[in-house]
């Protein structure tokens, strides 16, 4: 009963001054923004024609190439209702005013005016097509080059892997962001809602809840609270949980709303995305326990906010640096195990791992050029006792990816993010919360009001 009373009281406190309401409105706007994003399956003709339109526009401004036009003609698709299950057949036509212009075009190696270049261009513009063949056809005039492009099947298993054109705020198309539907949804869930949205939620929650405990500890208020039949540690723990409930409400509203909006708009229900709610609250609880201890020690909301933000930065920094140290050690171990591999040049198209290369050249090189290797031990020691906010964030990314992305993309995410185990993340983080909250309770209980 006392617990429920405190929850209700915390809710009332949060609702006071319209801050909670303002936050819910902001969260609603975020959900509305997410709901305003729609995806339309792209058409191959449009996908090819869009970049050609840009090229044609640039020809108009070039006196030597004025009148040149690249276009798609005789477009046919075997299954217009399901473009991802379709075969394609169309002509890729280069129209010039004169054969001289065609020569000029051919001299520019970037322009798709030869068979090989057209094939490469189609591969880039519509990379989802399979078995693409480009054959030169007889031109209809001397100033024309014509290719027949055919494809059989696509790489997309279903509509969700087919490129989609996003439309933002119900009206504005964003052709620069054409992406498979799954990746589009992943981007919204991971970067817009659980990324930027969560950071805003966390920041505002830190600011708002920082006043809860100093308010209770105010002279004249604390005496009333302590004189009730409740022990001080329980009182503080209830207030702490009250702060968490505030954030839980806000997070549940935002994530739940976004989940519904995305699901209804795309019919893609990524249940893993809902795990953002407890994970963001867990993340916040790490910050809030710092705020609680600071509030008990100083009774100042401003100082509590300041210390919490500093701690937030430190936890993030320590996690990031520790990850760099681990990567460095893995790379050095690989170098020791297989020295010949060190000199292998990266393959074309392969992401260059600068850290890895540096470590292979000089295992003792400082991390990112400014953290000397001699401090790596200290970093690890500090990391050992720090809560795992950075890793929690990574785990959340991973969870969202696992729920929505195709297998190949999932593998990429896993490779990129070699994060700590759940046991380590939760064990150390909750251990940290228990220790700091215990310290706050002890301080509160051992002093005069």
């Amino acid at each position: 009963m006392q617990f429920l009373a405190f929850l209700k009281d915390s809710f009332r406190e949060a609702r006071n001054g319209w801050v909670l309401q303002a936050m819910l409105v902001l969260a609603f706007l975020l959900v509305l923004f997410v709901a305003s994003i729609s995806f339309t399956p792209t058409n191959v003709e449009t996908s090819v024609s869009s970049p050609l339109g840009l090229m044609n526009w640039s020809f108009r401004n070039n006196p030597n190439l004025a009148g040149v036009k690249l276009e798609v003609q005789n477009y046919k698709e075997s299954n217009p209702r399901e473009p991802w299950n379709s075969d394609y057949d169309f002509d890729f036509v280069v129209n010039a005013n004169s054969p001289d212009q065609l020569k000029l075009l051919d001299e520019n190696r970037q322009l798709p005016v030869s068979r090989a270049r057209v094939e490469r261009f189609i591969g880039q513009a519509v990379d989802v097509l399979k078995n693409v063949k480009v054959e030169k056809r007889d031109p209809l005039s001397p100033s024309e080059v014509r290719f027949r492009v055919t494809s059989q099947g696509t790489k997309a298993k279903d509509v969700t892997e087919w490129p989609h054109l996003p439309k933002i705020l119900f009206a504005f198309e964003a052709p620069l962001f054409i992406t498979p539907l799954r990746n589009g949804v992943y981007f919204i869930e991971n970067y817009i809602v659980s990324g930027a949205g969560a950071w805003v939620i966390l920041f505002i929650s830190v600011v708002i809840t920082s006043g809860f405990i100093p308010n209770m500890l105010q002279k004249g208020t604390v005496d009333l609270a302590i004189s009730k039949p409740i022990t001080r540690p329980v009182l503080l723990i209830y207030k702490f949980i009250g702060g968490l409930i505030f954030t839980l409400l806000l997070t549940a509203f935002t994530i739940g709303g976004a989940y519904l909006a995305i699901g209804l708009r795309t019919n893609m229900w990524n249940h893993n995305f809902l795990l953002s709610i407890p994970l963001i609250v867990a993340y916040f609880s790490i910050l809030y326990v710092v705020s609680t201890l600071t509030a008990v020690l100083t009774r100042s909301a401003i100082v509590a906010i300041l210390f919490t933000l500093i701690a937030w930065g430190i936890f993030f920094g320590v996690g990031k640096v520790n990850k760099g140290v681990l990567n460095r050690e893995v790379a050095v171990a690989a170098q020791v195990a297989n020295p010949g591999e060190a000199m292998q040049a990266p393959k074309p198209g392969e992401d260059v791992d600068l850290d890895g290369i540096i470590s292979r050249i000089d295992p003792d090189a400082p991390l990112w050029g400014f953290i000397p290797k001699s401090t790596f031990g200290i970093v690890k020691a500090v990391y050992f006792v720090c809560p795992r906010t950075y890793q929690l964030d990574e785990r959340l990314d991973q969870l969202i990816a696992e729920g929505i992305l195709p297998e190949e993309d999932k593998k990429l995410i896993k490779l990129e993010k070699t994060v700590a185990s759940w046991g380590e993340i939760l064990g150390i983080s909750f251990g940290f919360i228990a220790c700091v909250l215990g310290l706050a309770c002890w301080r509160f209980a051992s002093r005069d009001s």
Binding site: Q2, R12, E13, K219, G220, T221, S227, I230, S449
Partner: protein, 324 residues
């Protein structure tokens, strides 16, 4: 079975660093008693209450509340407290605050629904019970403070300056409430500067001066002026002041009465016998009393004098010790 006091302290000490807020306070208050604690600002009155409630930790000695060591959370269920300079959470209404506190006291929803309007009616703010506390005047907040201290039917009630900021009508209502509590056999511990009210309602009073309990007794004990009698004779008769003076007693005419000061209480009998022998008719005889305010001021002054007198002795002792 030992007698259980409502409140009991034995040689209670509290030090804030070098400052001694309480110096060996020993006190017992019985169930059903209305007890007033008087003292100047900083005398240690609030500290004593706070120790009994566990808000402040004692440095030394014993403090029991309802037979249990002071500060136990479960005992506080049977206790009500109005702190001095209290600040209620501004986001509550009068009703919601009591509802919140009621839940902390373990009151059922039905009891809360019944009792809250009832007590707010008694303290006179029922009409404003759904308004935010931030809109309340100081007097209304004080009334709400009293309401939250008594609405859960506690056995012991601590009221620290209950009439602070309350207008005369409100003060009378609070006094009536305290009388009601007295009738209900509640133990009430009042810290107050309003000596007239303390005098009217308290069974016993203590005076705390610089952390020391300098006087404890019933109101009549504290206000009594031993050896001073007011004597009034029948109309037309003249008091024989000169003859009484010859017996060695000082007299003074106060209106139609004469104040006679005797050294020993039994000496008044000789004076009365003499008046009778002279055929004078006594129509009024009363041991003179002083107001509680006067008694308080005198006690405090005396305590200050004693303390000042002690100081050179203490200093001398300290110097001697250093010299040794």
């Amino acid at each position: 079975m030992p007698i259980q006091h409502a409140i009991s302290t034995v040689d209670l000490w509290k030090r804030y660093g070098p400052v001694e807020a309480l110096k060996g306070v020993s006190l017992t208050i019985e169930p059903g008693e209305i007890f007033g604690l008087l003292g100047q600002n900083g005398a240690g009155k609030s500290t004593l209450i706070k120790i009994l409630l566990g808000i402040v930790k004692k440095t030394d000695g014993d403090a029991d509340l309802l037979g249990e060591p002071a500060g136990r959370a479960d005992v506080r269920k049977r206790v009500g407290y109005l702190p001095e300079d209290h600040q209620f959470p501004q986001y509550h209404t009068g009703y919601s605050l009591l509802d919140f506190y009621g839940q902390l006291y373990g009151m059922t929803r039905d009891t809360r629904r019944r009792k809250i309007p009832e007590i707010l009616e008694i303290v006179g703010i029922r009409k404003r019970m759904d308004s935010k506390i931030r809109t309340y005047s100081k007097g209304m907040k004080q009334r709400l403070g009293i309401a939250q201290a008594v609405f859960h039917d506690p056995e012991v009630i601590f009221l620290d300056e209950p009439t602070d900021g309350v207008d005369p009508v409100g003060r009378r209502e609070i006094r009536e409430l305290m009388e009601k509590l007295k009738r209900e056999r509640k133990t009430v511990f009042v810290n107050s500067h309003m000596l007239e009210e303390v005098e009217l309602i308290c069974d016993r009073v203590a005076i705390l001066q610089r952390g020391e309990l300098v006087r404890v007794g019933t109101v009549s004990e504290l206000t009594r002026q031993e050896g001073r009698y007011m004597i009034g004779l029948a109309p037309g008769q003249v008091f024989p002041s000169e003859e009484v003076a010859k017996l060695g007693h000082r007299t003074e005419t106060v209106g139609t009465y004469t104040e006679v000061v005797v050294r020993e209480l039994h000496e008044i009998d000789a004076i009365l016998a003499m008046l009778s022998e002279k055929g004078l008719h006594i129509r009024h005889l009363q041991e003179k009393k002083q107001s509680l305010g006067d008694a308080f001021v005198k006690t405090v002054d005396q305590a200050n004098l004693d303390s000042d007198a002690d100081r050179p002795r203490i200093a001398k002792r300290a110097t001697t010790r250093r010299a040794q």
